[in-house]
Amino acid sequence: MKNNKKYWKGLAQLENNPDIEKLAHNEFAEKLPLDDFLSDDLSSTNTSRRDFLKFLGFTTAAATLASCEAPIVKSIPYLIKPDEIIPGVANYYATTIYDGRDYASVLVKNREGRPIKIENNKTCTNARVQASVLSLYDSARLKTPLKNGVEAEWLEVDSDIKDRLSKIKDKKIILLTATILSPSIISLLENLSKKYKNVEHIMHDAVPYDGILNANEESFGLRAIPSYYFSKANVIVSFGADFIGNWLNNDYSTDYISGRNPKKGMMSKHYQIETNLSLSGSNADKRIVIKPSEQKVLLSDLYSSLSSGSDPKDNRLSEIVKKLKANKGSSIIVCDSNDKKTQLIVNAINYILGNYDQTMSIAMPSYIRQGNTAKVNNLIEEMGNNEIGALITYKVNPAYNLHNAKDFSNALSKVPLTISTSLYNDETASLMEYVCPDNHNLESWGDAHPSYNTYSLMQPTIAPLFNTRQFEETLLKWLDDSDYNSFLSDFWRKRGVNWEKAVHDGFFNIKDRKSQVTSIAKLNENVLSFEINNINKIELALYEKIGIGDGTQANNPWLQELPDPISRACWDNYITISAVTAKNLNLKNWNVANGALNGSLVNVISDDIVIKKVPVMIQPGQANNTVGLSLGYGRMKSGKAANGIGLNAFPLLNSKFIALENIEGEHEFASTQLHHTMMGRDMVKETSLAEYINNPSSGNHTDTYPTWKGDLKADELTFYDQQDLKTGHFWNLSIDLTSCTGCAECVIACQAENNIPVVGKQEIRNSRDMHWMRIDRYYSSDMTQELASKNDVSTIDMYKEMEEPSENPEVVFQPVMCQHCNNAPCENVCPVAATTHSNEGLNQMTYNRCVGTRYCANNCPYKVRRFNWFQYSDNDKFDFNMNDDYGKMVLNPDVVVRSRGVIEKCSMCIQKIQELKLNAKKEGRPVLDEEAQTVCASSCSTNAIVFGDSNNKESEVYKLKNDERAYDLLDHLNVDPSVFYQTKVRNKS
């Protein structure tokens, strides 16, 4: 059966078809049309091997190429878009900046969740506040809490600290903080002292103001700073107080300048009696140079002559006395002295003059400085005596900025529990056991009460970048509480504040109770008797630089590269010395082959303190036999931008007299201006108030040229066809040289807005600064053309002497950016038409088209064009914020980051103009005058820079353009700039 069974695969097999047999041997019985299909006979083609290799080569190459990683640009869309964020549209948040030094209520511009720019809100800002947005993105900030210098977890740190704090029984717990402006922190500290025993709060200012605070305490029973109303004063006499620069608050310049408007015919008379040439001294109508030791002598002389009615002994004061007597109740005397007795005299003078409650008020004081050096010194002693159980620091860096920092550091080792809340592992934090890093202001909630009746709020504008926690939150944690946000809102709601509105506005007003001020105690005449020693020694006057201040933000490369408005040097501190003293001491400044400035070195010696290798800079206007030295430098544990830059002058804080020891070697300065006088040219046109009232166009002289048609001005002589600028917009910028104080805030604002790179010290030395706007500073010279022709001085000698500034020069500041010439010399020389003119009066730079011949920069009479000599972004040789993933977050997405080899320059914030035009178009309305702003104009605290459309007859800039004071820089060239200046008016009467 089994064998009979037969399976067959198909009928063909069953029928024994012969094909089956064939198929068994050869699958394809018929030849496949393979050759037709492949067109060639594969076996017979003689190129097959080559083709094969070609295909192999191609596929290998293709595969290799495909496997190479292309740069991945991550652009992640929102999965769920937050309601308030529209990509490409900025949000503004009102908040407050207070870093223990500078206070400002600000608006923060956020793009796609990142704060990128700080604008003024209620108060005016300064360069450091403007730059603080970059400090937010400082990658040197602490990223986690530290325990014994090792990264730790918040949970662990908190429980350790709470545990150890509660164990402290008999010793003190000290909170060492900067001046606290926040009422909510004060209330938290009260809570803290309820929970833990022996809690004490000590405030410390890096630059102490004990003198004025203690004097007011004695005079008025209130340890506070008076509020000053400079606009109400007809006569301002400042004894060294640089109130336009760094003295106390940054708010005074607005007020000061509003009292100096020649248009109204009212202009205060400002006397500055000082040692170092300060910003206030530069702006003063009359500057008297004194040694610091003379200050008290002159003040007591002034007091005696005002109180007795006699003439002052020192005839330098006679004019001031006369003016003050004529302006009782409308004058201000301020003084930078940190000596209580000196400040008592100042108080007495102001009291005699009836200035209190007129031009200044102690009843409505400012709380901006409250530090107490005596308490700090006492603390160090107690620390040394093992009386302190725990030290918590907040916004202070005593191991760096105490004059006795070494004592502090030594005593610190005797404190069993040390906690820092610094943003950085700085000089102090690195000595401490725990570091609980605070948030940056822009990541924090908070409040501030800087002066009478004024309150402002701080709100986060970005989630914390790092694993940090704001100080208030940390305190709450230690109080077994949490959520500072609700604590804060409850705190203010309880006090009747409309929280939502206050957060929105950034500030609110509560009527403060007027402080109870005891009437001034009669000046103890003992104060007036004193002895002056060491007259022959060199005296020291410390100051803060506009960029660096007390060094809190030293690691901010924008601020390091901000040229000092007076010396124009950056990336350095140095002693300033007068030319006469320098010659006596055989100290020199000289220019090397590429023009850069070099200077001698000295050791600065004060008793047992020696600061080695201090560079010397010759500074016109410096008192003879004195030196100035700026604080805030010489940081060692701040970050790569600040470490090792300059020298720490804080040890000299209490030194009055010093000795200089000449040493070998030379110092290389980075200075952005190497020539200091106007060389008889009239870049800055000047007049006096009296002449101005007489003739508003005085000082504003335009040259004429003889032609066959008669004498014509340069702009009437052109043979070019004039572009039609009457239709549409015509963007103009007016710069008032009377209002410009030279504070350099606009320079930083411009740098932030326009993604301007930082180039470092060496490149500044190579005269390759990149700032789109600079503030030229000129000193007056003893030599003038009139004098030369009168005294028969040869032209060569005249120019030689003109290069030398006067010993106590008059100073002018002139902001210069691209002048947007309407007959632009740069435009017609570019071979590739990369720089062209817009029909709105702007000179436009097309980076993409630029090949970098630099002909435009050569032909620019204002030398405002900047060339990218190197690749400044993503280049390890320029290791600043543009070479840092965090630092790059500050870049403005509306402005392109330029590559190497192209020219760049001021665009008059074209991105802002474009935005406002589009907004107006969308809303179907004309562009409003008040919304048209460049950042230099909007950041200007004194409204010296005004931007607008001069085709709009209602605009402010139109009125300014037709003002008698308006003039074009280098008008004889007839380049017809869109930027114009207003004559400087000084009150010389």
């Binding site: 040219r681 005269s767 017609n828 011949t853 060339f867 190497r900 060239l973």
Partner: protein
């Protein structure tokens, strides 16, 4: 057949026959290079390679490698550019203008002078290229159709005029030079043994364009030369005029001067003749051309140098006068600063080398001395380099606003690139001296019987 007065000095010394001339001129090409050639060539090649390395570094890192700054945006780069371009001008003047004026003495020197022109212009052309911030986009300065939108070059810009001037100059010079070389290449071709060196024979044969010395060939050759001379003559004046407009059309005091075009042309001829002398005095020794490049040639050139040098001096003084006469403060300061400012030494070098020293040529003994001429020609070369440096740097470094005033100091890259172009120039010239007939033998034979010393007896 031309006749020439017997009392005129002969232009060909020694009792040369036509065959002697052929042999003398072919010798450097056919023989082996001597030791001096190799020493010079290696030195030049090393300098050239160093220069190339400096250029590569500049292109790799940025113009910041140079000593320029925000105030002085041009310095050695454009100084070198103008200097090299100026040097070229003597070659064109000798071959074109002197041809039109039928100056027979040009025949011994025109070949090398033209070679100098071409090599000089090649060096000059390097600088506008490498001084760009983004040299890889250099082609944007040409008006070529493109797809970048409606982008076109800016015809107002003198830099664009430069592009046209230099490219025209370079191409016309090359063509002119080459046409003159054809009969000489044919001569070399005919002297080469095909069996010994077939490659060489083919190469020279190719370059000779099938020249066979027919009367028709000669007639056309002379016509073409005349036409090209006519074309090249305006270039002698136009190219440097246009280069000068880079400065003259600007608004910078010290640049903005109407005198610049003639002043630059004269300066160019002045420096060009000096460079021709420098080269030929060496060359006549190294390749034994004493019989053809005689002291008479040198004297003729010295007279031109004396003439142009004096005119350049007049131009300098005119500039000073105009600055004073204009009454413009900025203009006056610019020139005062040139002479007495921090770059006074550059101005003093320029004045000494260009105005004072050439006056020595009034003295017959100096004018007719190879050694003195050689030394003086070096002075002129240096002086003319300083002239351009003075114009460019001293005008820029202190212009309108004193706040921007600064100084310029070269980096080693700046120096390396300049030295490198000198090396490159000599590499090209030395190669030329070994491969090309350095004297136009076909032409010089035409004056043998009128100006040869034997025929003057």
């Amino acid at each position: 057949m031309q006749k020439e007065s017997k009392i005129r000095d002969p232009l060909i010394l020694g009792n040369k026959t036509y065959h002697d001339i052929t042999r003398d001129i072919a010798r450097p090409v056919e023989g082996k290079a001597n030791k001096y050639w190799w020493i010079l060539f290696s030195l030049a090649a090393v300098l050239m390679l160093w220069g190339f390395a400096c250029m590569a570094y500049t292109i790799g890192t940025g113009i910041g490698a140079w000593g320029l700054n925000r105030t002085v945006n041009w310095a050695w780069d454009i100084t070198n550019f103008v200097w090299w371009i100026g040097i070229g001008h003597a070659g064109t003047l000798i071959s074109a203008v002197l041809l039109l004026f039928r100056q027979k003495w040009r025949m011994a020197i025109n070949r090398s002078a033209e070679a100098m022109t071409i090599f000089g212009v090649a060096q000059a052309a390097l600088f506008p290229l490498i001084h760009m911030g983004r040299p890889w986009l250099a082609y944007w300065v040409f008006p070529i159709p493109n797809q970048f939108g409606s982008l076109w070059v800016n015809f107002n810009s003198p830099l664009l005029w430069d592009v046209f001037a230099i490219s025209t100059y370079f191409s016309v010079s090359c063509v002119f030079w080459y046409i003159g070389l054809i009969p000489d290449f044919a001569m070399l071709r005919d002297r080469i043994d095909k069996k010994l060196s077939p490659m060489k024979k083919n190469l020279y044969g190719l370059m000779a364009f099938g020249w066979s010395g027919k009367a028709k060939h000669w007639q056309r050759f002379e016509e073409v030369c005349l036409v090209l001379a006519g074309l090249a003559t305006p270039l002698v004046f136009s190219v440097h005029s246009i280069v000068s407009m880079d400065f003259a059309t600007s608004i910078i005091p010290g640049w903005h001067t109407t005198i610049f075009p003639p002043y630059f042309v004269l300066g160019a001829l002045f420096s060009g003749f000096a460079m021709v002398e420098t080269l030929l005095i060496i060359m006549r020794k190294v390749v034994n051309m004493e019989a053809y490049i005689t002291i008479k040639h040198i004297e003729y050139m010295n007279v031109i140098i004396l003439f142009t040098g004096s005119l350049v001096g007049v131009a300098y003084i005119t500039e000073l006068f105009m600055a004073w006469y204009s009454g413009v403060e900025f203009e006056q300061y610019a020139f005062l600063n040139r002479a007495t400012g921090p770059y006074w030494w550059a101005y003093a070098s320029m004045m000494t080398c260009n105005v004072v020293i050439p006056q020595l040529y009034w003295i017959y003994k100096i004018r007719t001395s190879f050694v003195a001429t050689f030394i003086l020609s070096i002075f002129v070369n240096i002086g003319m380099w300083f002239e351009r440096f003075v114009i460019i740097v001293t005008s820029l470094h202190r212009d309108f606003l004193p706040s921007s005033w600064t100084m310029f100091s070269p980096t080693f890259i700046d120096i390396g690139i300049f030295v490198g172009t000198i090396g490159f120039f000599f590499v090209l010239f030395l190669l030329y001296a070994r491969a090309f007939p350095v004297i136009a033998q076909a032409e010089i034979k035409s004056i043998l019987k009128s100006s040869g010393s034997e025929y003057k007896k």
